[in-house]
């Protein structure tokens, strides 16, 4: 188990290292120099530009720039934001994290609270009206673009009815209702499918038949034999979906101008603030890697067969 843990940990670090190179290289290839951004519309001499270039180390070879950057990153220094001059990248990101965290924790909790019971029930009453409605809704939910639902929500609840704000996070809980609902709906659609499938799988297994044959009450069969076995794939899928959830939050925060790291990411990209973009990509990838690692470990703890490979 320890060996497995160490290997997975090393793989995770290697992955983050590769991603840092990939991102750094990509952004270096981007058109437009950060110097242009720093200078803005001001008329400056070539000398001043050269000074800025030298100050930001942009005149040195790319691999040297990378090594300087990654060296600083390893010491927790992500440099300064270019578009918010003088503000450390870590501070810009730290300000945005609580919003994203609150948004996603609420959305995922809501999705789990609805999707898992519904998925189990749909599987238990297979081919009932409830099953058809649930399956149809989740099939539709997977096919609908999340940003479109978001905007329809804005049109209906903010523009027409005036109940909720159109954007931002400055209206207390009201600001959270639409983005949370949209993210939760998207996650729910996926989770219901997984839960229903896992429950059906568990329901048809031999040990459940045995449990029934020996006269256990249906409630006991469901809670102890079916749901318990179905939970493993559900937890796993939830863990592996972290990357999708982060994708969702980038789009939805941008649609709602919600000041979390998702909007920070797209805004920084549009304003060519690659210092922030680099740091955010590393942060997002770290979250995914850690999430996947924890999922693998949970799985390995429960299912010893996994550890061998």
């Amino acid at each position: 188990m320890l060996r497995y843990l160490v290997i997975r940990l090393l793989q995770g670090i290697l992955v983050l290292f590769l991603i840092s190179i990939l991102t750094f290289g990509l952004l270096k290839a981007a058109p437009g120099s950060p110097v242009d951004l720093l200078v803005g519309t001001a008329r400056v001499t070539q000398e001043a530009r050269d000074n800025l270039t030298a100050k930001w180390g942009l005149d040195r070879p790319v691999h040297e720039q990378y090594l300087t950057w990654i060296g600083n990153v390893l010491q927790g220094d992500f440099g300064e934001s270019i578009s918010r001059s003088g503000t450390p990248v870590t501070q810009v990101i730290a300000e945005a994290i609580p919003y994203t965290l609150a948004l996603n924790v609420m959305a995922i909790t809501l999705a789990i609270a609805i999707a898992i019971p519904l998925g189990i029930l749909a599987a238990y009453r297979r081919n009932s009206v409830l099953d058809y409605v649930t399956t149809a809704t989740s099939t539709l939910g997977v096919a609908v673009p999340n940003y479109w639902i978001g905007i329809l929500g804005i049109i209906l609840f903010a523009s027409i009815l005036g109940w909720l704000p159109t954007y931002g996070a400055s209206n207390g809980w009201r600001s959270y209702v639409l983005p949370v609902a949209v993210l939760a709906f998207e996650e729910m659609a996926a989770l219901i499918r997984v839960t229903r499938g896992a429950t059906l799988e568990a329901l048809s297994s031999d040990h459940v038949q045995t449990a029934r044959a020996k006269g256990l009450r249906e409630k006991v069969v469901m809670t102890r034999h079916v749901v318990r076995n179905a939970m493993l794939p559900i937890v796993t899928v939830l863990g592996y979906r972290i990357a999708f959830i982060l994708s969702g939050t980038i789009v939805i925060e941008t649609v709602f101008s919600f000041p979390g790291i998702g909007r920070l990411f797209s805004n920084s990209l549009f304003s060519l603030d690659y210092q922030v973009v680099q740091a955010l990509v590393l942060l997002l990838a770290t979250i995914v890697v850690i999430g996947n690692l924890l999922t693998d470990l949970t799985y390995a703890l429960i299912d010893p067969r996994i550890r061998i490979s």
């Binding site: 793989q11 290697l14 992955v15 590769l18 991603i19 990939l22 991102t23 990509l26 952004l27 290839a29 981007a30 058109p31 099939t139 539709l140 997977v142 096919a143 609908v144 673009p145 940003y147 479109w148 905007i151 329809l152 804005i154 049109i155 523009s159 998207e186 659609a189 996926a190 499918r193 997984v194 499938g197 896992a198 059906l200 799988e201 048809s204 794939p233 796993t236 899928v237 592996y240 979906r241 990357a243 999708f244 982060l246 994708s247 969702g248 980038i250 789009v251 941008t254 990411f265 797209s266 990209l269 549009f270 973009v277 955010l280 990509v281 997002l284 990838a285 995914v288 890697v289 996947n292």
Partner: protein, 322 residues
């Protein structure tokens, strides 16, 4: 915005098409494709059986019909569209549906219906093109990784891990911002961004195939790696690949629309559905009708491809449960 979850990507067809290990020596091409090659009879009955299983999933045939309709629309867009998709008609700015303009006009007075019909071209081009690229890379990487193992597997798997750790939208946005893409470039960007999960599925499939008796038998009888890959492994992953492909197209269409919606995908004035939603977004107070139809087009198209995928899974993998 969801891509198939990992349970959706459960390895499909290999076990489904039971190949008789006893035949492996006599007829090297075990597996379904091999059986097809052996005689017309086998061919017909196998495909008939698949068609029957496909049809048994009620939404599959309507979904297929709808996709054929989309393809025809894309090809015949200039003939079908009632107006020019790029013609501004400022007198009609933001008009609602009317007899001459069934779905109304956008904020530039362009005919919504014509733009949507032309948009089919972009959706299908990007959806099918990018998915084909992604699945092709996925199969090549996954098969080499699974078959050769060792350091090849080690290197390729870390590459796959790295791509999987990138939230797809983040990667797409970075690439699109760096490359400021044309439509063919959007196809390439999405294709090269989403292949990793297919590589994983194909690798797992190949790993399990390698242990199967007919492959071991072929190895024992001295077949070369090349021959084993071409005659035994590939024919047996065809089913999985077809299912993966059809389940992926919908997700890719959503990615394109999201990218275009955020302003980094297909550039104006091209009538991408996502782009139309982005254009309409500035006018949701004045002309909310602009936001309705493009979203419905995206949803129904994605739905059709997803349902087609489900039907194909039934056809190629009878183990799949619904």
């Amino acid at each position: 915005m969801t891509f198939p979850t990992s349970s959706d990507q459960r390895p499909a067809a290999s076990g489904a098409v039971a190949s008789d290990p006893m035949l492996a020596d006599a007829a090297p091409s075990a597996g379904d494709a091999g059986r097809l090659a052996r005689g017309v009879d086998g061919h017909q009955s196998e495909w008939k059986r698949r068609w029957r299983r496909f049809r048994a999933y009620p939404p599959a045939v309507p979904a297929l019909a709808f996709i054929i309709l989309l393809v025809i629309t894309a090809i015949l867009a200039p003939v079908i569209a009632p107006h020019e998709p790029l013609d501004n008609n400022l007198r009609l700015r933001g008009d609602g549906p009317s007899s001459g303009y069934w779905l109304g006009n956008d904020a530039n007075g362009r005919d919504m219906l014509s733009r949507l019909l032309y948009g089919t071209r972009i959706a299908l081009l990007v959806g099918i093109g990018a998915t084909t690229i992604a699945v092709t890379i996925g199969v090549l990487v996954g098969a080499s990784s699974g078959y050769f193992g060792g350091w090849v597997d080690l290197v390729l798997s870390r590459l796959v891990d790295s791509l999987m750790a990138f939230p797809t939208i983040a990667l797409l946005l970075v690439l699109a911002a760096v490359l400021s893409p044309s439509i063919p470039l959007v196809v390439l960007i999405i294709g090269f961004s989403v292949w990793a999960s297919y590589a994983r599925v194909v690798r797992a499939e190949v790993l399990s195939l390698k242990q199967r008796d007919f492959v071991l038998a072929a190895e024992a009888s001295g077949a070369t790696s090349w021959r084993i890959i071409v005659r035994h492994i590939i024919p047996n992953v065809v089913g999985v690949v077809i299912v993966l492909w059809s389940l992926a197209v919908g997700g890719v269409i959503i990615y394109e629309s999201a990218l275009s919606f955020l302003g980094l995908g297909v550039q104006p004035p091209n009538p991408s559905w996502g782009r139309m939603l982005a254009d309409g977004r500035d006018y949701i107070r004045e002309y909310p009708h602009i936001m309705i139809a493009p979203g419905i087009f995206i949803t129904v198209t994605v739905l059709a491809f997803n349902l087609l995928g489900e039907g194909l899974r039934d056809a190629f993998d009878p183990r799949g449960r619904r």
